[in-house]
Each structure stands twice: as structure tokens, then as C-alpha cells.
Amino acid sequence: MSEKGEVDLTGAKQNTGVWLVKVPKYLSQQWAKASGRGEVGKLRIVKNQGKAEVSFTLNEELTAIDCVGEKASSVRAPRDHPFTMQTVGGQTLAVFTENPSGQSEDRSDGSAPDKLVLEGVVVQRAECRPAVSENYMQLKRLQIEESSKPVRLSQQLEKPVTTNYKPVSNHTYNVEYEKKKKEEGKRARGDKQQVLDMLFSAFEKHQYYNIKDLVDITKQPVTFLKEILHDIGIYNVKGTHKNTWELRPEYRHYQGEEKSD
């Protein structure tokens, strides 16, 4: 079990060589459809007087292309794909894998420590190209047609849309709001001591309050609340643009502030 961040370097030490192959999109889609053990085709390497020719042949069953729309299976993916071999150049390309270990995913920092393994170094680069054939041309045409369709479509409507807004005498939301207001009634002045308790507990949670928020919390009329606040608190402009109320220093005992009273 390696600790977090530790990279397993066995692949690098063994100098495992791998190939990096660029594969066309349609081919990788076909490969994704492979069944069973995942056999997708055959790779043939011919060494011809020193030069190596590599070509990949797609399995027959994977040549059927699912296409959207009418042209179902009239287009087949080409089968032959010669590889164009390239050197890595000066660049060092290494391959590492992340293996999310099976820990739970709901950690706040995202994935649990993955296992990082350096699999190997790229020794050969290749591009998989389809052998040009009629099949391939058709496939390409299909692709182009699909991609040239606009994402958004303008459509003409015969009748105007009437479902959204109808004139009402009073919107439902408004009706509810008025009902709620009537229920609550005007705020009555409660017992001063109680209000003070409410205020103190509110100020324990936050230091600065807007007068509206305090009214909301204490459900007292504004003038009454302001009187009380004048006793125990100060109104400060504070620099940040809202004008807020806070307790007087002698009433405060926040952590991190000096204790007083």
C-alpha cells in the first residue's frame, strides 16, 4: 500500500516500452462496442528490408456503424488501417495511470488518494489512418452532414403561444402574500426583556446586523427595536457600505476579541 502521492516506478525501471497511437474518432467508437474479451482486430507488422509496415485490420463485426437517422448500416467502417510510424523525437513521454482506490467518494477533497503507477515510456508514436476506400468516403460524408447541421433550429409557428401568460386579476403569488401579511398582523411590542434576549442571542451568532434582518428576527416594530438597539448597540457605517448595527463593546464577548464585561 503506497502512501498518498507515491508513484510506483516499476514501469519506468523496467523501461517498459509502449506505443502511443492516434486513432480516429469513429474507430474508437467502434472499439468501444467490442464485446467479450475486447478483441477489436488484428495488427500486422511486416518487416520489409528494414522498414516496418504496420497495419491494423478491424474485425468484421465491428464495422457496422450506428448512425443517427435514416442511413442505418448502409455505411460501413473501413477495415484496413495502415499505421504511420513516427519517432518520439527528443520528447520524453511517459505513461502513468491513476487508479482510484475503492474508498468512498464523498470526501471533501475529491478523490481519495489514487494509486499512481508509472506504466512505461513511449518508444514509438503512430497514427492510425484508414485506408482510403469508398466506404470511408461515405462515412466521412455522413459525418460532415451531421456536423454541419445547425445546433439551433428556427421553426415557424402557425398559432401564437398562449400557454404562458394569461391576464389575471391577481396573481396567485400575490394573493398568498397578502394573506400571509394579514395573518401576521402588525408587529406588536413584546416584552422588552424578551426582545433583549432575542437580540443578544442573535448577536452571538453574527456581529453585524442589518436593521431589517433584526426586525425579521425579533418580529418587533421598527421604532421599538431601534430604541432598544440604541441602548445596547451602536450603529456604524463601517466602511463597507451597508449600515449595520452591532452590540456595544461592553456587551460583546466574542472569541478573538478582548473580553470585556
Binding site: 502511443l20 520528447q91 491513476e98 499512481l116
Partner: protein, 533 residues
């Protein structure tokens, strides 16, 4: 796997599999060709995501509740951002760069940034050969370009811009980073034990801020000595001597820097404002401690065996001064440190003014001071003393323009030693030692001849605005009326009014003062000249 034999070609067929069930995500780690990375040489490697961008996306959580918080702040903030249409991109862990550390603490570090657009139009697959001969193809999910991280310190963008603006003036590039480090230290810690920093080059650097300010030769001199130290000790940090000097210089340097701030009204302005917050513990009294320090230092200087390079000797001198500091003990150290820093600052000031090609009044004045003193005691070998500083500064870069100072450095040092001796012989009243000290300083940081004259000239001038010609008579009048420093004197004979260039002014004034041989008095820590007739 089938194989066909043939005489000239052989072909092998392999089955290609694309495994479906793997959880492993394959990624490419790309290094640049120039970095010469060989994965097989790695003994050990650690790699983690670089989460430093997290705070940009998840906003910093301010203290929740209680002190300092407002009710409903979060909602308000959110409403505000919606109103302005600020859309923050969410922080995705898998898009964050990697930090790769190879071979532990002393090894290399790399940062791997995700390359976008890799999987959009074509897929990359990794083909590996299995033991059974078949190929397995794994899709590549991400490509990371790994670049090596610099382990050495680099300049920030602002600092780089500053330096770029000074690229024509700054000759000694080694000093840039040194200065920066010292500045950081100055800012960072006031309480830190100086000894800790002693061993490091940074400490040695003393006043790096000086390089970035329009200013003084002294600063440059100090730096140059520092640099010469570094150049002497090849990479500057390993040589024990360099360290020792660094230690001393560091202390002195630190003090110098502070002292410089306190003296700034007498010397060049500090543009940076670096010195604003500096403690100036030796502001109050200098004179007595100043006396002792220079004397001790000068004998040492005389005895120094030249290192073979001018810079070396220069730095040695300074280190001697530093030694003095240490010997005196902590209590006196401040005072002495003050003295030394004063000296060295002045030196530096002069050096730096030498280095910066602009000649400003303060430059002129400073040089006038030193030139004046030089004149009084020794034939004006102004270039020499300066040269030692200058050469030390430039020693690390042999091709630099101030090479001409090197030739005079020996003479200047000779002058300096003569000065010391002369000083020692005359029973130095307190007023004399500061001059002596200044003489020493003058001799040391003397820039090429013309500059020293400027310095001399600037020192003392009596304020009489009507005098346009720079004559002995005029200077005499000034000095009779009131004691003046060289700086004041120089102010009197402004180049516009006398029609002389600043260099000439300094030269001429220095000569005049030599002829006049005025009395010296130390007022407010400055050397004033006056005549009584």
C-alpha cells in the same frame, strides 16, 4: 499470432484487444526534450495535485459567525455576483495541475499542466504488448505537459519590471537577487537572530534595496563587496570565508541598511520607501562610537593582505569592520554597527552613485565630501579608493566599464591607509574622527576622479546665492559666515549658474577646499567646514 516467412520480409500478426473493465485511467506525462528527463534514473517520485487554485474558486471562508461577520453576508454576496454577472468556474480536481517531486527534497520538481483539446477530435491509445503477444490498447484520458520548476529564487513580475527598466544602468547582475533576498529579510524579520542568517548569502547582501534605488555608490560598494565575496567563493554560498564575511557583513549590512535609512536626508533619497519601517536603533548617538570604530577598522585595513583581487580586499576590510562589531559585544555592537554601516553606507552610497551614471546633487555632495577629505590628507587619488569599491563591485564582471577604477584602486587604498595613519597620528578630537571616517569612506568608495571631485565639492558651501563664480574667494566667504557641509557648498555653486559641469564643480571645489584648509566641526552628525578670520 501467425507468421509468414519470406526471404526478404517477415510479417507478424497480433491480436489487438481493448480491455473494457479497467478502472485505471491512462494519462500521458510529456517532458520537453531540452529537460533531459530519463525516467529510469528516478529512484523515487511523488506526485500530487496542485490545489493552490482552490481558493480562487471556493471563496475563502471568512470567520463564520461571531466577531466580524454580518448576518446574511453570504446571500448578499451571492446576490451581488449574480447581479454583476460574475460567473466563477467551478474548481475541478481532475483539471488541476500535478506537482511531481523526483528523488525527494534535493531532486527535481515538475509541474504538469493539463493540455486541453487532446481528446476532442481524435483519441490516443496506448498499445502495450502483453506476455501472450497480443496488444492491448488503452485510451488516454488526459495529457499533461510537465515542466521543470526552478529551484533558485526568481524575481516576481514587479521586480522583473523594475530591473528591466534599469538594465542599461545595472552592470552587476549578480547583485540583483542578492539585494532582493536581503530586502525580503529586512522586511520579514526584525527579531530574527542575525547569526542565523549569517551563513547565508542573503544576509551578506546588506542593502539590496540600494541597487534598485537611484543612489549611492555606497550601496553599490557594499553590494559589490558582497558580490565579490560571492564571486570569490564561487557559488557564493559555500565558501566558509564568504560565509564568515557574510555573517559579519550580514549584520553590518542589516544595520547598514537601517542606518542608511536614518541618514537618508544626508544621502540620496530612498525611492523605494523600503526603509520606512526600519528600526533605526542607532539614530541617536554616533559620534563617540564612530570615533572608535574607524580607528580600529583602519589599522586593520592597513594590515590586510590583499586577497589578490581588489574586491576581495575591499570585502575583507568590511569584514574586518564586521569583526570589530562582533568583538565589541552585543551592546556596543549597535553603535559600532552604526559606525560601520555609516561608513559602509557612505561607501556604498558613493559606489552606487558611481554605478548609476546619473550624477545627482546628492551624489555630487557625497563625493565632494570624500573628495574633500581625500584632498586634505592625501593627494587626490580619488579614483583609487573608489576604485577599490568600484572594482570590487565590478570584479565579478571583468568586462564592465568601470575597469578604469581598478587601476586607481591601489593608489586609493594607499591613500586610505595614509589617511588612517595620518588620523592616528593626529590626536583625533571627536570632530576629527568623523572626518577621518569620512575620509576613509571617501577613499574607499571613491569613484573615478571626476566623481570624487563632485563629492568634495558638494560637501560644504556657505549659502550665498549671489555668487555665481566658483572661486576660492566665494567659498571662503561662505565658510566664514557659517559652517557648511560639502553638500551645502555644492548647492551654492549650481552647475547652471557657474557654467561648469558637475564634475568640474566638484573638482574645483575640492581644490579650493584643499587650499583653504578649513576647520571641521561635526554638527548633527555631519561634517561641517568653517573658517574663522
Amino acid at each position: 499470432m501467425t507468421s509468414l516467412g519470406s526471404s526478404s520480409s517477415s510479417s507478424m500478426e497480433y491480436i489487438v484487444r481493448v480491455p473494457k473493465n479497467t478502472n485505471k485511467r491512462y494519462n500521458i506525462m510529456a517532458f520537453n526534450a531540452g529537460d533531459k528527463v530519463n525516467c529510469s534514473t528516478w529512484a523515487q517520485a511523488r506526485m500530487e495535485r496542485d490545489m493552490s487554485n482552490r481558493r480562487m474558486y471556493g471563496e475563502e471562508e471568512v470567520v463564520e459567525g461571531a466577531a466580524g461577520s454580518e448576518f446574511g453576508k453570504k446571500q448578499r454576496e451571492e446576490a451581488r455576483r449574480k447581479k454583476f454577472g460574475i460567473v466563477t468556474r467551478e474548481f475541478r480536481v481532475e483539471d488541476q495541475p500535478w506537482i511531481l517531486k523526483v528523488n525527494g527534497k534535493a531532486g527535481r520538481r515538475f509541474k504538469g499542466q493539463k493540455k486541453g483539446g487532446v481528446t476532442e477530435n481524435a483519441s490516443y491509445y496506448i498499445f502495450t504488448q502483453c506476455p501472450d503477444g497480443a496488444f492491448e490498447a488503452f485510451p488516454v484520458s488526459a495529457w499533461y505537459n510537465f515542466t521543470p520548476l526552478a529551484k533558485h529564487r526568481t524575481l516576481t513580475a514587479e521586480e522583473a519590471e523594475e530591473e528591466w527598466g534599469r538594465r542599461n544602468k545595472v552592470v552587476n547582475h549578480f547583485s540583483i537577487m542578492l539585494q532582493r533576498r536581503l530586502r525580503e529579510q529586512e522586511r520579514g524579520d526584525d527579531d530574527e537572530e542575525e547569526g542565523e542568517k549569517a551563513g547565508k548569502k542573503k544576509k551578506k547582501k546588506g542593502d539590496k534595496g540600494g541597487d534598485l534605488r537611484i543612489h549611492d555608490l555606497e550601496d553599490d560598494l557594499e553590494m559589490s563587496s558582497d558580490d565579490s565575496d560571492s564571486s570569490v567563493g564561487e557559488d557564493g554560498e559555500s565558501k566558509p570565508k564568504a560565509k564568515k564575511e557574510a555573517a559579519k557583513k550580514g549584520k553590518g549590512g542589516k544595520k547598514k541598511k537601517k542606518k542608511k535609512g536614518s541618514d537618508s536626508e544626508a544621502m540620496e533619497d530612498s525611492d523605494d520607501g523600503d526603509f520606512e519601517g526600519l528600526e533605526v536603533d542607532y539614530m541617536s548617538d554616533d559620534s563617540s562610537s564612530d570615533e572608535d570604530e574607524p580607528e580600529k577598522v583602519k589599522p586593520n585595513k592597513g594590515e590586510d593582505v590583499p586577497k589578490g583581487i581588489d574586491e576581495a580586499s575591499e570585502s575583507e576590510e568590511e569584514s574586518e569592520e564586521e569583526k570589530q562589531n562582533e568583538e565589541e559585544g552585543k551592546d556596543e555592537e549597535d553603535e559600532e554597527g552604526k559606525k560601520t554601516p555609516v561608513q559602509q553606507e557612505k561607501k556604498k552610497r558613493r559606489d552606487s552613485s558611481e554605478e548609476s551614471e546619473s550624477s545627482e546633487d546628492s551624489d555630487i555632495e557625497g563625493r565632494a565630501d570624500s573628495a574633500l577629505f581625500m584632498k586634505k590628507r592625501t593627494p587626490p587619488k580619488r579614483g583609487g579608493g573608489r576604485g577599490s569599491g568600484g572594482s570590487s563591485r565590478t570584479g565579478s564582471r571583468p568586462g564592465t566599464p568601470s575597469i578604469d577604477t581598478a587601476s586607481t584602486s591601489s593608489t586609493l587604498r594607499a591613500a586610505a591607509t595614509k589617511l588612517e595613519q595620518g588620523k592616528r597620528q593626529t590626536a583625533p578630537p571627536s570632530s576629527d574622527t568623523p572626518p577621518a571616517k569620512r575620509l576613509k569612506m571617501a577613499s574607499n568608495p571613491q569613484s573615478p576622479a571626476e566623481k570624487s571631485v563632485q563629492q568634495a565639492a558638494s560637501g560644504k558651501s556657505t549659502p550665498s546665492s549671489s555668487d555665481v563664480q566658483l572661486t576660492e574667494e566665494a567659498v571662503r566667504r561662505y565658510l566664514i559666515r557659517k559652517p557648511m557641509t560639502t553638500k551645502d557648498l555644492l548647492k551654492k555653486f549650481q552647475t547652471k549658474r557657474t557654467g561648469l559641469s558637475s564634475e568640474q564643480t566638484v573638482n574645483v571645489l575640492a581644490q579650493i577646499l584643499k587650499r583653504l584648509n578649513p576647520e571641521r566641526k561635526n554638527i548633527n552628525d555631519k561634517m561641517h567646514f568653517y573658517l574663522t578670520e
